[in-house]
């Protein structure tokens, strides 16, 4: 398994290089630059030109590129033009927020998605199955932005149970974190719950029709053992693949939720950086985020090996 991980890590290097090249090029291809943001609405053309010169944005494209890669080779991802913070520091400040929120959303997704999928499969074509799939479809169809607003109106404005927005770190106040993160996590998770429930249901139905399940039942094994040990264990491989994708989606898709609930996470940071043309922040932030997602994919591959002995044995 160590060989698999090492090969994957080596394969990540060209991925990161390509991502950095594309990001650098794309950011420079988009019209507009940070001068219009720093200068504000009332900047005169002369001020805009002065800001561009101050930031070195009037330098040739390849010179800017050379400078960035030279710094990168020395481990320097640069400094955000607008925040004044170094890119690594800004990322490390925001990443835990997004990770905590995504982890909470993932727990909701796995618990509700997996359970409703399994129950729907076991009660195929019953009211339970139809109800579970109806909620799954609802989760997939309702935009999380809309759901978030509805939850704010109900739980914050009408009932006063939860705050309308803001964020308290888990390390500062676990109860405060739970209060500020519950609505965003539900809003973020709902789409993924629907997705996972449908995948789990179809995978479980396929597994439940297999000969070894019929054999297990024929042997007189209790239903719980058949479902948990034989059916679900075999269904977990495709489900794990989907969960891996869901983790990526939760991290990368948190921007709307973070904006709505005023949560200072990575999604908001990178989106603002793109909108503000904060070149170093976008380039460095995306590179770090990509590296993180590559690591998650490698971790998912490692999980395959743990769940499926065939993967372990097939690995050289």
């Amino acid at each position: 398994m160590a060989g698999v991980i090492l090969r994957r890590l080596a394969g990540a290097v060209p991925v990161l290089l390509i991502v950095s090249l594309i990001t650098f090029g794309m950011m420079r291809l988009i019209p507009g630059d940070p001068s219009s943001v720093i200068g504000g609405l009332s900047a005169t053309p002369a001020q805009l030109a002065q800001i561009r010169a101050d930031l070195g944005l009037d330098e040739p494209f390849f010179l800017q590129m050379l400078k960035w890669y030279t710094a990168l080779a020395h481990g320097d991802l640069g400094r955000s033009i607008l925040l004044g913070q170094d890119v690594v520091g800004a990322t490390l400040q925001r990443l835990p927020v997004t990770l905590a929120l995504s982890a909470y959303a993932l727990v909701i997704t796995v618990v509700f998605g997996l359970c409703s999928g399994v129950f729907a499969a076991l009660r195929q074509n019953t009211v339970i199955d139809q109800l579970a799939m109806m909620f799954a479809m609802l989760g997939i169809s309702v935009p999380n932005f809309f759901l978030g607003l509805l939850m704010i109106i109900l739980f914050a404005v009408r009932l006063g149970w939860l705050p309308t927005g803001g964020y308290i770190a888990f390390t500062d106040d676990p109860v405060g974190w739970l209060r500020t993160s519950t609505m965003p996590a539900i809003s973020l998770a709902l789409l993924q719950v629907g997705l996972l429930a449908r995948i789990t249901r179809s995978t479980m139905l396929e597994v439940l029709r297999q000969d070894y399940i019929r054999t297990a039942r024929a042997k007189g094994l209790p239903r719980r053992v058949v479902v948990m040990k034989h059916a679900l264990a075999n269904a977990l491989i495709p489900i794990t693949t989907v969960v891996g994708i869901i983790v990526s989606l939760l991290i990368s898709g948190s921007v709307v939720t973070e904006t709505l609930f005023s949560i200072p996470g990575m999604g908001q940071l990178l989106t603002q950086a793109v909108l503000n043309r904060d070149y170093p922040m976008v380039q460095g932030g995306l590179l770090l985020t990509t590296a993180f997602l590559v690591m998650i994919n490698i971790a998912v591959d490692a999980c395959y090996a743990l769940l499926d002995p065939r993967v372990r044995y097939e690995s050289p």
Binding site: P31, S36, S42, A43, P45, Q50, V157, G165, S262, R277
Partner: protein
């Protein structure tokens, strides 16, 4: 004899100035005292604060917070007149080549260090290196600090508008400790002299300030006025929370989690007005909605065509759509409550005469070329204004097309006349509030907003601009402004539609919160 300037507010100002002439200074009325002290005032701000480095940023979101922390030598009062702030007084020599500022005694920075003229010199040095409006120093020869409480600016040549520029709150020259002189752009350590000091700044989340107990208020005043005056911090802390989603700001105000918010959506106002716990605070004249023509390309290079466009427009319709009804029609580039307001050129405003537009269009020889309106959705008012203007132009036979991009892209495109646009949609916000001089900069080189063909600026316009800057008499400078505004209308170098109202709201127990260019947190308190 040197002209001395020492401000007083209101009636007391007049009494004090008269008394000074006779060598006595009367006791002022009792200064403002917080009726109640304490609490955390949470303000929902619409835009992210990127940095608190005030000299390096011209964004409203930075100013909202930073101007509660930092102070300047001179600033503007409630009516936009220059007043001393950290300066005790200042004098202008008769030849207008020397400005001498006496600093107030006892002013301390948030780190406890007393402010001296060495800090002022260092702050000016840093501003001259990276301040966004450092162009104001082009006629400055040098500055010096002959003693710890005196700061002198020596000019190369007289500039009658220098004090107006120096007191600007657009990108003000804030005074910071001398140790911060070499701080890089966007990395200024947040240590000022204001009534509020920084506690915590998490970009994208919040900025928390606390009362600075060592604050020395300006005793030349009894009340807060504009960005200066007698300021007192009544709350224990103030939290600017970034809430970019309008619906979330409304919800926060209703629940009381936010005690004040800016930019309330018009659709929510009826509901909010019924809530006795909420007070709506409209901030009139927030900005002037403008479309700037590109006079370098056809057909907008033709003044007759531009006049046809001008004649076709119904400003009420445009502003109503742009602002959901929160607007006032406004002639020109100043507001009626400002001393420099003029309605020069009013005959060219809000003509809404399609027949005349068609006639002018025929005279211009317009051949049905596409006319591109460059706008963005980042500012909904600009997009909506463009949408309605396009329909009004189509109604008179102009083939109007929208080009919708994001704000940075549109700013970048409008810098060059050859990027495929005819009208650029923007707003003049801070500059009109600062006065005529600041606003008219948009029509001056380099790269004036109307994109003069081959970079050749209109000589009549430039003559008026030069008079605005150089005439020693204020009346002559005002006359030059009126002439310049009339020319802009007559030659259609801009289409100012009207002024927007920004709607703020506070909880009913918040007292002393008066609308201004930034939310001022001093002299504001909770009644219970």
């Amino acid at each position: 004899m040197e002209k001395a300037i020492l401000a007083r507010s209101g009636l007391a100002a007049t009494v004090a100035c008269v008394a000074m002439a006779f060598g006595t200074v009367p006791a002022l009325a009792a200064p403002f005292k917080c009726p109640r002290v304490g609490g955390d005032f949470v303000f929902g701000q619409e835009a992210n604060v990127n940095s608190l480095d005030q000299p390096a940023s011209n964004t409203i979101s930075t100013r909202n917070v930073a101007m509660n922390i930092f102070e300047t030598l001179i600033t503007r009062d409630e009516n936009n007149n220059p007043i001393p702030d950290l300066a005790d007084s200042y004098t202008e020599s008769p030849d207008r080549l020397t400005y001498t500022f006496k600093l107030r005694n006892g002013v301390k920075f948030h780190n406890g260090k007393p402010m001296t003229s060495a800090d002022v010199v260092a702050s000016f040095d840093r501003y001259a290196r990276l301040g966004l409006e450092r162009g104001m120093f082009k006629n400055v020869d040098k500055w010096e600090a002959p003693d710890a409480s005196t700061f002198i600016i020596r000019m190369k040549e007289a500039q009658p508008t220098f004090i107006e520029l120096l007191s600007s709150f657009s990108v003000p020259v804030v005074i910071v400790p001398a140790e911060q002189k070499d701080d890089a752009p966007m990395q200024l350590k947040t240590i000022g002299t204001g009534p509020w000091q920084l506690v915590d700044f998490v970009p994208g989340s919040h900025v928390k300030l606390k009362r600075y107990d060592g604050y020395t208020p300006n005793t030349h005043f009894e009340e807060r006025t504009g960005f200066g005056g007698y300021k007192q911090a009544c709350f224990d802390t103030v939290t600017f929370r970034i809430v970019t989603e309008p619906g979330a700001r409304v919800a926060g105000l209703k629940t009381g989690e936010l005690q004040g918010v800016e930019d309330l959506p018009t659709k929510a106002l009826d509901d909010l007005k019924k809530d006795k716990n909420i007070a709506i605070v409209p901030l009139l004249n927030w900005w002037i909605q403008v479309a700037a023509p590109n006079t370098s390309v056809a057909p907008t290079d033709n003044v007759l065509f531009r006049k046809a466009v001008q004649a076709a427009l119904d400003m009420d319709e445009i502003m109503d759509a742009a602002t959901d009804g929160n607007y006032r029609l406004n002639v020109g580039f100043q507001y009626p409550n400002q001393p420099s307001y003029t309605d020069a050129g009013k005959e060219f405003y809000n003509i809404k005469d399609p027949a005349k537009a068609k006639q002018l269009l025929a005279q211009s020889g317009y051949k049905g070329e596409p006319v591109v309106l460059l706008t963005n959705k980042d500012y909904a008012s600009m997009y909506n204004a463009a949408l309605v203007m396009a329909e009004q132009l189509k109604a008179v036979g102009i083939k109007a097309e929208l080009k919708v991009v994001d704000w940075p892209t549109s700013v970048n495109m409008q810098l060059k006349p050859d990027t495929g646009w005819n009208f650029f949609f923007t707003g003049y916000g801070t500059q009109p509030a600062l006065g005529a001089l600041a606003t008219m900069q948009f029509f001056t080189p380099p790269n004036a907003n109307y994109k003069p063909k081959d970079g050749k600026d209109d000589p009549d316009l430039m003559a008026a601009w030069n008079d605005m800057n150089s005439k020693p008499d204020a009346k002559d400078r005002q006359a030059a402004f009126a002439r310049m505004q009339a020319l802009i209308y007559e030659r259609v170098y801009a289409l100012p539609f009207g002024s927007l109202t920004k709607v703020q709201g506070v909880r009913a127990n918040v007292q002393g919160f008066k609308p201004f260019r930034i939310p001022r947190m001093s002299n504001v308190w909770f009644s219970n």
